[in-house]
Symmetry: C2
Subunit: 389 residues, 2 copies
């Protein structure tokens, strides 16, 4: 078991109706609020009106229209609003994209320069505005971490922005807000949660506590996602997915393990940067191919163990066969929840950018730390394989 430091700054409010506590959390920081959100979904479900009513004694300025795969332009605009209105606290309402954008806003508002500088050089970030996260989608787990992913389509870059002070001070998780999330986004969110866990689970030095946490979360995603898809207002299924999503990146799943490479995220971010695909869908295309490319005598027992623990696969006596069966079970799960199986289904037309993507994947992720260390040729092979049916 490796050494670690663990700290969770956020106070989590979980369950139906917890939004009533929002004014109290906001008041900890002041009364000038940047209200950040995406499109109209929070208006359709009545959450926008509810929050405006709850915060009626605050001065509110709005940052709206934050896009999926949030872009640096939105963060620049948010930072400008924060400076102009001397904002005390950011209330981020939506999914991980809104929250990721809010994190860069929080840092850029206190930075005397361009927001993209902070993404390219995380160490330039300093003090941040406090963030309160109200989640409407179970996916990124950004509410319990200090990381964001920001896209710069002009530069064809999608990069992580990691900075401790962006960890939200409070998070509101009301599963009923996710009842109206469409099937596609529910499934993409589930794929993202599952990937977050797998990225931390597929290491060769795991400890039994971390393994138990990871296996719990993976089983929950595998069992509850189909329920949420067929019964969108099943509270317990939505609740389990929402709480699992918060665990994806909160650090607890890998405490005591060595570092993870986050290989599938590295590769998928490149696909998103070039083709603006939905992150969870891209992960479903990449992950089985990454597992097959990583399958060696050393790693197969781990992949087979995953199959046994998450999909209840009985060992055959041949560990390579068991590992292959585990990957097939994962593919079957993706198919069951409607995820694409290849690049064509994902909407990537051709192999034109494969070399550039294979190079880009190494920019921000330690791919040499993957359970089978990855070279550029490995990433290229994974990407090319994704064009095969």
């Amino acid at each position: 078991m490796q050494n670690f430091v663990w700290e969770t700054p956020a106070r989590v409010h979980f369950g139906k109706g917890v939004i009533e506590e929002l004014p109290e959390e906001v008041a900890r920081f002041g009364r000038r609020v940047l209200l950040a959100y995406g499109g109209g979904s929070i208006k359709r479900i009545g959450l926008y009106d509810k929050i405006r009513e709850l915060l009626k004694d605050c001065e509110i300025v709005e940052l709206t229209g934050i896009e999926p795969n949030p872009r640096v332009e939105s963060a620049r605009e948010g930072a400008k609003l924060c400076r102009e209105h001397d904002v005390d606290v950011i209330v981020s309402v939506g999914g991980g994209s809104v929250l990721d954008c809010s994190k860069l806003v929080a840092a850029a508002a206190k930075y005397d320069g361009d927001a993209w500088d902070l993404v390219e050089k995380n160490e330039l970030a300093g003090e941040c505005l406090p963030i309160i996260a109200v989640m409407t989608l179970a996916a990124t787990g950004s509410e319990l971490d200090a990381g964001a992913v920001i896209s710069n389509l002009g530069k064809k870059r999608k990069l992580p922005f990691m900075h401790g002070p962006t960890f939200p001070k409070a998070a509101f998780l009301d599963p009923t807000y996710s009842f109206t999330v469409p099937a596609w986004h529910t499934a993409c969110g589930a794929s993202d949660i599952l990937s977050h866990v797998m990225e931390q689970y597929f290491v060769l030095d795991a400890n039994p506590i971390a393994d138990g946490f990871c296996e719990t979360m993976m089983r929950v995603v595998v069992e509850e996602t189909p329920v949420a898809l067929t019964e969108p207002d099943n509270y317990d299924a939505r609740a389990a997915l929402m709480w699992a999503s918060s665990w994806g990146c909160n650090g607890l799943l890998s405490l005591g393990n060595g570092p993870s490479a986050w290989a599938c995220h590295a590769i998928e971010h490149e696909i998103s940067a070039y083709y603006d695909v939905t992150h969870g869908a891209g992960l479903a295309v990449v992950t089985p191919r990454w597992l097959r490319r990583s399958m060696t005598a050393e790693t197969a027992p781990r992949i087979a163990h995953f199959g046994a623990r998450v999909f209840d696969l009985a060992p055959t006596g041949d560990v390579m066969e068991d590992a292959e069966r585990a990957v097939r079970a994962l593919e079957a799960f993706y198919a069951k929840i409607g995820m694409p199986a290849d690049m064509e289904a994902l909407g990537v037309p051709d192999t034109e950018n494969v070399d550039a993507m294979a190079e880009g994947a190494f920019t921000a992720f330690p791919l040499h730390l993957a359970m089978k260390p990855l070279e550029r040729e490995d990433v290229k092979a994974i990407l090319l394989d994704a064009f095969r049916k």
Copy 2:
């Protein structure tokens, strides 16, 4: 899934050598330190000298000789020292008893009255001195909660003291400090950890995430305790137990479940209050009997599920039989790690105080919330049964 609020104020430093960060944590609060510890074990392992060296720039006053089942007298003495020396921060070094005493010291130092008042009426407690916990024993998990258990042998009372501000600000968990813990205390600690999990696991409204966490922790205790007993300096076994112990009471194991009764703790505290037995040993005597007394058509599936998940017992088709086998597997585990099986082995001579203990068990615990609600007759029957071989 039930609503919840979750917050973890402590920064956890886990692993070999992490004590080096102690001066930095202390400096957050000041330089006048109450150093609280028990007997000589921290001197034997060199930890006392190490801490005095690390804190050589602090003014240190010592509270020593804190006993197992810590007594209100020690807390009174500690509070007096804190007031006399205008202490800024308490550094608690030892197991849960030292830390529990430190928690009452932290509150009593700021309370204008007798420390026992705070135990009898927790709501009288207000502001507290900050506490930094350095753990040498895997057992109570007191480092990640806001609770303590304090004994008043004069009054034959052993009662919980629950007060939010006593949650430690930082915790140092170095598994190597537990290498020299004798087998008896290692096993009693393991029994305590297992009980903390079981108290939260045996409910009828569990959710799958809480279940996964609980089953992980119970399996870790069952698998790693025998390793730690035969190889006392097995780092990974000691580390797994130490981290599991921190999870026993940190609240995460039951998030989203309804309230727990903590029935075995209620009953064991009475035995300890009358006979000063070691808590974990008392729990091993009480728990199987509580499970059998609680076994009904409604609860048996839950007990059987425990047997399947924790002890890998295959279902027989008869759920009452499966539940009974699960209890027998638990008894076998207790026997394997050297826990007593009955009151005589525990050192309780006769049934003289059974009525008083059965009454006392209801003082501080909501036993009507147990999975089979407990009446006084149930508690009496459990206690009497413990005198049978």
